[in-house]
Symmetry: none
Subunit: 262 residues, 2 copies
Amino acid sequence: MSAAEPPPPVFVLVEPQMGENIGAAARAMWNFGLDRMRLVAPRDGWPNSRAAATASGAGRVLDGAGVFASTAAALADLTHVFATTARPREMTKPVLTPEQAMREARALAAAGERVGVLFGPERAGLVNDDVALADAIISVPVNPDFASLNLGQCVLLTAYEWRREAVPAAPETLEMPRTRRASQVEVERLWAHWDARLSEAGFFFPDHKAEVMRLNLRNLLARMAATTADVQTLHGVLRQLVRQAGHGGFAAEPGGGRADEA
Amino acid sequence: MSAAEPPPPVFVLVEPQMGENIGAAARAMWNFGLDRMRLVAPRDGWPNSRAAATASGAGRVLDGAGVFASTAAALADLTHVFATTARPREMTKPVLTPEQAMREARALAAAGERVGVLFGPERAGLVNDDVALADAIISVPVNPDFASLNLGQCVLLTAYEWRREAVPAAPETLEMPRTRRASQVEVERLWAHWDARLSEAGFFFPDHKAEVMRLNLRNLLARMAATTADVQTLHGVLRQLVRQAGHGGFAAEPGGGRADEA
């Protein structure tokens, strides 16, 4: 993260029940670089060995987690709070998607606000008294016929959106290990090689279709975005097929024709 | 969903191990309205009672799941495939975020393409031979210090992005007049043809490089986004070169080998 990255929001788990779910939430957070967790009255006390076992690799999130007796105490120093809910709460509050909420959270954090997100217990979700403490509600736009996100999934999607909003319009990247895109002249030479051999082989037939056949093949070559290694491979493919022709049979004659070292 | 909603992508789970994870994937999908699942060689057979128990409420996804013996068979009728990977694969393919990939998937589906997303087994992820079948890679932008998304989480985020992208931005389109993208099975047959003839010609030499040489060629084929007409052309190219070999010379022997009428 850059120096300009604002501090991530605090994720507050209210009365979580299973240690495994606390650990899973820690992993989900740390996957996206969030490490500020608070716990309100965890059912099985704290620390929790099952939470630690599940969190493996994301233990630092648990190590830094603060434990509070009430939701109000956990939120005391925060200036802006979102509450995640699965169902409408009949309250007059903004209801945001995770995307909208984390975009807003990022702007608030960048302006020096201290932002938190509330997550309710596994089964029942947040009680209305806790939702009432929040400035806005986050509701994931799930299938109306099947809304069954669990705690870990809700934490995951919210953390993902925080991170996603950090990288505005990431460019598509083309993974190209140890090689580079072939230059136009390399592709032209490759085409000339294939054109010559295919012409000799009588491929471009009948004559009145030869032009469009050539055009289609050149388009294919252009579209494959060949690397220099690919170009060598395709020279080798052709040489080996034609070498056979010179010998009138299928005796393998290795050497020379192949070049793919990538 | 509106009437204009394009069909959602097929999610293909390759060699999933635990039934619970298949069930969790079904729930994650159905939360966002996706119900088209395929399974490649599930470890514990099919149907799987643990998958059914975990999926509760999303059983319709499992009920409709097709089971296939190989990844190639599961992809046979699809025209555009994304592969999810956690680590770089040293292949020359576009690498997209889930956001970019699902935006593209939505545009492709709206244009009548049949889109799929590959998910690998729980521990190891997809093998390179499966990644090679894909047009592009999906990589979730996780914390570089802690990348530990599990299968269910990866399915969840991808399904979430499909749903979130319900209003597609102006898509990049590939102009394809009077033709359509070749299906996976057409491309597989094309590859089998080339593989057989190149093997006979002794191209894959030396032996210890044969595997990577084949992988590179398959990646080239996937990248060129061939149309059905292109596939026929490339069958014809090969037939014509090999026909020569049978006659031991360069006498043009037209007919049969060409098919490009586009």
